[in-house]
C-alpha cells in the first residue's frame, strides 16, 4: 500500500465521527439535487414523452353543435395547407358534466369513445390497469381518476344527462393525451361498445363531436392555425361550436400546479444544499485545523506537504464519491414516492427511469465541490512548517475584549460562561445563524404551500374569479333569472360574467372574462399592475401574454371575435395560471364592440349571504339554490356550478403534494440541523477540551458544561429564528414570484399564517436546543485527570 493510501486509511479510522457526519451531509445534498433534477428532467417530461408515444400530434380541434357540412373531405380541404397529417374521428362530448372526483366534484366536458379509441393512428388511448373480469357495461376512466380521483376498478361511475343517469362499472384506467387531467377542462373516457351504442342512440343528436388531431407543417404557428381554422369552420356552418387546444397548452395545464410545488421544492432544496455546502467547507477546514499536530508530526518524519495534501484529497474524495453514489441511489429509491404524488396531478403513468444528466450532475457537483474545498484548505498544510504544525499551528490569541466579565455581569454563572463561549466562536455563530435561517425559510415555503394548497386552498390560482355558485340561463330567460336571484335573500353579490375565446391579431387565442360590473369583481389580487378596465375601449390582459408579445400598459391591442375587430387600450396586467396564461378581462360595454352582447346567455356568479364555516353546509345551500332555480326555470337553465363542491375535486390532486412537502421539508430541516450541530459541537468540544478539563477539575459538572455549551448556540439560534421568521414571512412571496413568472403568477400573494411561522421559528429553536444538548454529551467523556495528564 503506498503512503498516500496509508495516510488516507489512518484518517478514516481516526476521524470516524467527522467522516460519518460529512458523509451524511453529502448524501442529503446529492439526494436532494437528484430528486429535484429527476422531477424536472424525468418526471415532468414524461407528459411530453407519452404525448409523442400516443401520437397526440400538435393539437386538436373539436366540433360540436350543428355538424352539417363537416365531411371528412371538407375538413381535409380546410386544414390540408397547414398540416402534414391529421386524423378525424367522431365520438360524443357532454359539456359541463358534473362528475364525482376526489373529495368533491368537477364540472367538466366529458369525451366518450368506444374501444376504437385503442386503435386510432393518432391520439391513441392506452390501458394502464384493468380488471378484465368486468365484461359488460363498463367504463375506462383517465388515470387521474385513480391517482387523485379516488376511483378504483369495480367502482361505479355515473353520468347524468337530461335527467337520465348512465351508470358504469370502472374496468380500468387510461393513459390519454387530451382529456387526461382535470386542469385541461376535458376528461376522455371509453365505454364498452354496447353501452356506447346505447349512449350514441340517446344523445348523438345533441352531443356528437368531431375530433381532429393534427400535425402542423414546419413553421406554422399553432395559435394562428387554429384561429384561421376556426374562422373557416364557422364559415362552413355558423351553428357549430369549435374548440381546440394545442399540445403545449395541454401539457402546461397538466403540469403547472405540480410544477409550482416542484419549483418551491427546488427553491427550498437549493437553500438546504447551500447550507450543506457551507457546512462541508467549514468541516473540512476544521478537520485540518484539528489535526494540525498529527500533520506536523508526519512532516517531521519526512512526509512532504504534497503527500499529506494527497491523503486529504483522497480521503475526502473517497467520502464524496461514496456519499454521492449512495445519495443518488437514495434519490432513485425515494423518487417513486414523490412521483406517485406528482403524477396524481398529471394523470400520466410514470416509473422512474435512469436519467444520465440527473444522475451525473448531483454526483459531479458534490464530488467537485468537496475536492475544491479540500484542495483550498489543504494548501495551508503544504505551506506550514513542521514545528509550527506540531505546536498546532500559529495560535494567535487575539482576545480584544473580555466579554461578559464575571464580576460585573448580572447573568447566572451558566449563562455567563455560555455567553463567553458564544462571543469566542463567531464563525460557528454565523454558520448556525445562516443554516438555521435557511431551514426556517424552507419550512415557511412548505407551510405556504400547505396553507394555500391544502388547508385553505387558494382558489384564485385555479380560477380567475371565485364565487359560491353559478347559474347560467339561456338568452330568453336571462332577465327573469337575474331578477329571481336578486330577490332571493340567501344570495348576494351577483356578478354577470361570461367567458369567451377572443383572438389577438389573428395569432393568439385569449380566454376572456367579460364582466358586466367590474366593481363587483371579488378577486382584488387579479390585477397586479395598472388597473382593471373601466371604459368601453379598455382591456386588461395577462402579464405572461403581454410579455410574450412585448405589450405594455397604454398600448393598443387588436382583438377579434368572428369577423369583428376592435382596438382596446391596455389598462393593466392580470395574473393567471389558467389557459396557458393567455387571459384577458373587459366589460360588457367593451365586448359590445365585437359581439352582440344582448344576445348572449346570462351567466350569474353569486355568493351566499350567510357563509358557514362548515363547507358541507355551504355545498347544501348552493345546491338548494341551484335546484330551486332549475325547478323554476327548467330547461332555460343551461349550466350550473357549485364552487364549494368543486373545491374538493379541484384541490384533491394538490393536497397530497403540499402535505408531503411540509413533512419532508420539516424532517430534512431537523436532520440537517442535527448534522450541522453535530459537526459544529464536535469541533467546538475538541477545541475546548482543555477548558472543559480545567472546568471539571475546578468542580463543574458535566451537566452544567453541557448546558453552557448548548446555551452558547442559542443567541444565534434565537436571532436566526426571529430574523428569518420575519424575513421569510416578508420575502417568501416575492421569492416564489421570481420562479413563478413563467407559469403566469407574476405577483404571488400566498397566505402565510403568522402562528405557523412563529411555530416554525419557535419549534426549530427548541429542537435546536435539545439537539445541541444531545450533541454535547461527548463532554461527559472528557475527564479532568486524563486531560491534565495527557497535556
Amino acid at each position: 500500500m503506498n503512503k498516500t493510501l496509508l495516510l488516507t486509511r489512518s484518517n478514516l479510522r481516526k476521524n470516524r465521527g467527522t467522516s460519518i457526519g460529512l458523509f451524511l451531509l453529502m448524501v442529503i445534498a446529492t439526494c436532494l439535487i437528484g430528486i429535484s433534477l429527476l422531477i424536472f428532467m424525468d418526471c415532468y417530461p414524461s407528459v411530453n414523452r407519452e404525448a409523442v408515444r400516443l401520437n397526440g400530434g400538435d393539437g386538436y380541434i373539436s366540433i360540436t353543435g350543428d355538424l352539417d357540412g363537416f365531411t371528412d373531405e371538407k375538413i381535409t380541404e380546410l386544414i390540408k395547407d397547414d398540416t402534414d397529417k391529421h386524423y378525424t374521428y367522431h365520438d360524443l362530448k357532454l359539456s359541463n358534466q358534473p362528475v364525482k372526483f376526489g373529495n368533491g366534484e368537477v364540472v367538466i366536458s366529458i369525451d366518450i369513445s368506444d374501444d376504437a379509441a385503442f386503435k386510432r393512428p393518432m391520439n391513441r388511448f392506452e390501458v394502464i390497469t384493468e380488471d378484465t373480469s368486468i365484461s359488460e357495461n363498463y367504463v375506462y376512466l383517465p388515470y387521474q381518476f385513480n391517482t387523485s380521483g379516488g376511483f378504483k376498478t369495480g367502482d361505479t361511475f355515473e353520468l347524468t344527462n337530461s335527467g337520465r343517469t348512465y351508470s358504469y362499472k370502472v374496468r380500468g384506467f387510461l393513459n390519454v393525451v387530451y382529456g387526461g387531467c382535470n386542469n385541461t377542462a376535458l376528461f376522455a373516457l371509453v365505454v364498452d361498445n354496447d353501452s356506447y351504442k346505447k349512449l350514441w342512440d340517446d344523445t348523438h343528436d345533441e352531443y356528437e363531436n368531431i375530433n381532429i388531431i393534427y400535425d402542423l407543417k414546419d413553421g406554422v404557428k399553432n395559435g394562428k392555425f387554429r384561429i384561421n381554422a376556426f374562422n373557416d369552420m364557422l364559415k362552413v356552418n355558423p351553428g357549430a361550436v369549435i374548440e381546440g387546444y394545442d399540445i403545449d397548452g395541454v401539457i402546461s395545464n397538466r403540469t403547472f400546479i405540480g410544477l409550482i410545488i416542484a419549483v418551491s421544492f427546488l427553491v427550498a432544496t437549493s437553500l438546504i444544499i447551500a447550507a450543506v455546502a457551507m457546512m462541508l467547507a467549514n468541516s473540512i477546514s476544521n478537520y485540518i485545523k484539528e489535526n494540525m499536530k498529527t500533520l506536523g508530526a508526519l512532516k517531521a518524519i519526512g512526509y512532504t506537504g504534497k503527500d499529506i495534501k494527497s491523503s486529504l484529497v483522497v480521503w475526502f474524495f473517497f467520502i464524496a464519491v461514496l456519499a454521492s453514489i449512495i445519495g443518488i441511489a437514495t434519490a432513485y429509491l425515494v423518487m417513486p414516492v414523490f412521483a406517485s404524488i406528482i403524477i396524481g396531478q398529471m394523470g400520466v403513468p410514470y416509473s422512474v427511469t435512469f436519467n444520465l444528466p440527473a444522475t451525473i450532475i448531483p454526483v459531479a457537483f458534490v464530488v467537485l465541490f468537496t475536492l475544491t474545498v479540500t484542495v483550498i484548505c489543504a494548501n495551508k498544510v503544504s505551506k506550514i512548517q513542521p514545528i509550527v504544525a506540531l505546536r498546532e499551528g500559529v495560535e494567535s490569541h487575539n482576545f480584544r475584549k473580555n466579554h461578559v466579565a464575571l464580576d460585573k455581569t448580572s447573568l447566572s454563572l451558566n449563562m455567563s460562561l455560555a455567553m463567553k463561549t458564544f462571543f469566542g466562536n463567531m464563525k460557528q455563530n454565523v454558520i448556525t445563524f445562516i443554516v438555521l435561517g435557511f431551514m426556517i425559510f424552507c419550512c415557511v415555503i412548505s407551510l405556504l404551500l400547505y396553507e394555500n394548497f391544502s388547508r385553505k386552498p387558494k382558489l384564485d390560482i385555479l380560477a380567475t374569479e371565485i364565487c359560491a355558485g353559478v347559474v347560467a340561463s339561456d338568452h330568453e330567460s336571462r332577465d327573469e333569472v337575474l331578477d329571481y336571484l336578486e330577490k332571493r335573500s340567501d344570495v348576494t353579490n351577483i356578478r354577470e360574467i361570461i367567458n369567451m375565446n377572443v383572438y389577438y391579431n389573428d395569432e393568439e387565442s385569449l380566454f376572456c372574462y367579460i364582466v358586466k360590473d367590474l366593481s363587483k369583481f371579488k378577486n382584488t389580487n387579479l390585477c397586479y399592475k395598472g388597473r382593471l378596465p373601466s371604459y368601453d375601449n379598455e382591456i386588461a390582459v395577462s402579464g405572461s401574454f403581454a410579455k410574450a408579445y412585448g405589450l405594455n400598459i397604454g398600448d393598443e391591442v387588436k382583438i377579434d371575435y368572428g369577423d369583428n375587430s376592435f382596438k382596446y387600450l391596455i389598462t393593466g396586467f392580470i395574473q393567471t395560471t389558467n389557459n396557458g396564461g393567455r387571459e384577458a378581462i373587459f366589460s360588457y360595454k367593451a365586448a359590445d364592440h365585437i359581439m352582440d352582447i344582448d344576445s348572449i346567455p346570462g351567466w350569474y356568479w353569486f355568493d351566499l349571504t350567510n357563509v358557514s364555516d362548515d363547507v358541507e353546509k355551504n355545498i347544501e345551500e348552493v345546491n338548494r339554490i341551484i335546484e330551486e332555480c332549475e325547478d323554476k326555470y327548467d330547461n332555460h337553465i343551461i349550466s350550473t356550478m357549485n364552487f364549494y363542491k368543486m373545491i374538493g375535486g379541484a384541490m384533491t390532486t394538490f393536497q397530497g403534494i403540499s402535505v408531503m412537502m411540509l413533512i419532508v421539508m420539516c424532517s430534512i430541516s431537523v436532520v440537517v440541523i442535527a448534522l450541522i450541530l453535530y459537526l459544529l459541537i464536535k469541533s467546538l468540544v475538541y477545541h475546548k477540551r482543555r477548558d472543559y478539563g480545567i472546568y471539571k477539575a475546578l468542580g463543574y459538572t458535566s451537566g452544567s458544561l453541557m448546558l453552557q455549551t448548548a446555551m452558547s448556540f442559542m443567541p444565534s439560534v434565537i436571532a436566526s429564528a426571529i430574523v428569518f421568521s420575519i424575513v421569510s414571512y416578508n420575502v417568501a412571496n416575492p421569492y416564489i414570484s421570481l420562479f413563478m413568472r413563467s407559469f403566469g403568477l407574476m405577483k404571488c400573494d400566498f397566505a402565510i399564517p403568522v402562528p405557523g411561522v412563529i411555530a416554525i421559528g419557535a419549534g426549530l429553536t427548541v429542537v435546536s436546543f435539545f439537539l445541541a444538548l444531545m450533541q454535547t454529551r461527548r463532554i461527559r467523556k472528557i475527564e479532568a485527570y486524563n486531560m491534565l495528564v495527557a497535556e
Binding site: H397, N402, A697, L698, S702, E791
Partner: protein
C-alpha cells in the same frame, strides 16, 4: 492532629494492551490539617497518581479515600466535581488557566461555584490576587498576556478562592525558572503559614524543603517519611536533613 485525608489500601492499576501496571499498591496514608505535605519520588513512581487519587480527580482501582470524614471513592463523577468545589484547590504544573478568560474571570469562574454574592467574591478575588502579588493592572489581561510566574500565582489564587480544606499542587514550579519558581513557593509557604493545608508533588529538593512532612513514593508504595518541621528561611540543617532522608531512600 486532625487528619483531612485517610486512605486505606489504596490501589491504582492501569491496564494497557492486556498488561497490568500497578501504579499504587495498598497505600495507607493520612494527610493532616495545616501540614505542607510533600510527595517525592522518581519519574513513574506514582506520585501524581497518588495526588489525583487523593483529590478525587482520579478513581482508585481498590481501597478507599476518606476526605474530611467523607468517603469519596464511591462518588460518581458529578458528585466528585461538586465535592471538589469547596474542598480542593488545584495548582498544576502547566497552570491551566482558561485562555479565553481574563485573570480575574479565571478566579471568579472557580469562586462562583461556591459563592453566590458576586460583590463579596469579587472583593475576595482582588485580595487574593494582591496577596499573590498580581498587580491590579493585570487583572483584566488574558493568561497569554502575562508571564509564566504570574500565571502560576494566578493559579494559586484560583486554588484558594473557595477556602479549600486542602490545596493540591502538582509540580507547580516545574515549568518555571528558579526566580519565578521561588516566588511561587514563597506564595504557597505564606498561605501554609496562615494555616492552609497543602499537599505538593515535586522531585525538586529546593521545593521539597518548603514542606514539613516529606513522603517518598517508590514503586507505588510510601517507601519512607520524614518530618522537617515548619519551614524557616535560611535553615541549612533542614536541607541536610532532607538530603539525608532522600539518600536513605536511594535518591
Amino acid at each position: 492532629m486532625k487528619n483531612i485525608i485517610e486512605t486505606k489500601k489504596l490501589c491504582k492499576t492501569f491496564s494497557n494492551g492486556g498488561v497490568q501496571q500497578h501504579v499504587l499498591r495498598n497505600i495507607d496514608l493520612e494527610i493532616y490539617e495545616g501540614d505542607f505535605t510533600i510527595i517525592m519520588g522518581a519519574s513513574g513512581a506514582g506520585k501524581s497518581t497518588l495526588l489525583y487519587s487523593l483529590s478525587g480527580m482520579d478513581k482508585p482501582t481498590l481501597g478507599s479515600v476518606s476526605f474530611c470524614g467523607t468517603e469519596i471513592t464511591k462518588m460518581n463523577t458529578d458528585e466528585l466535581a461538586i465535592f471538589r468545589r469547596g474542598n480542593c484547590g488545584f495548582v498544576f504544573q502547566q497552570v491551566y488557566l482558561v485562555e479565553s478568560m481574563s485573570v480575574l474571570d479565571n478566579i471568579m469562574a472557580a469562586g462562583l461555584l461556591v459563592y453566590k454574592d458576586k460583590k463579596v467574591l469579587s472583593k475576595k478575588a482582588g485580595e487574593l490576587l494582591k496577596a499573590v502579588n498580581i498587580d491590579e493592572t493585570l487583572w483584566n489581561k488574558f493568561p497569554t498576556q502575562i508571564s509564566g510566574g504570574e500565571a502560576q500565582r494566578v493559579g494559586i489564587a484560583r486554588a484558594l478562592i473557595n477556602d479549600p480544606a486542602l490545596v493540591f499542587a502538582d509540580e507547580p514550579t516545574g515549568a518555571l525558572n528558579s526566580h519565578t519558581g521561588k516566588a511561587v513557593l514563597d506564595t504557597l509557604t505564606k498561605f501554609n503559614e496562615k494555616g492552609q493545608s497543602i499537599i505538593m508533588v515535586t522531585h525538586d529538593i529546593t521545593s521539597a524543603r518548603r514542606g514539613n512532612r516529606i513522603l517518598h513514593v517508590k514503586d507505588g508504595e510510601i517507601a519512607g517519611e520524614c518530618n522537617l518541621g515548619k519551614y524557616v528561611t535560611g535553615d541549612k540543617d533542614r536541607h541536610q536533613k532532607l538530603s539525608d532522608f532522600l539518600a536513605t531512600m536511594g535518591w
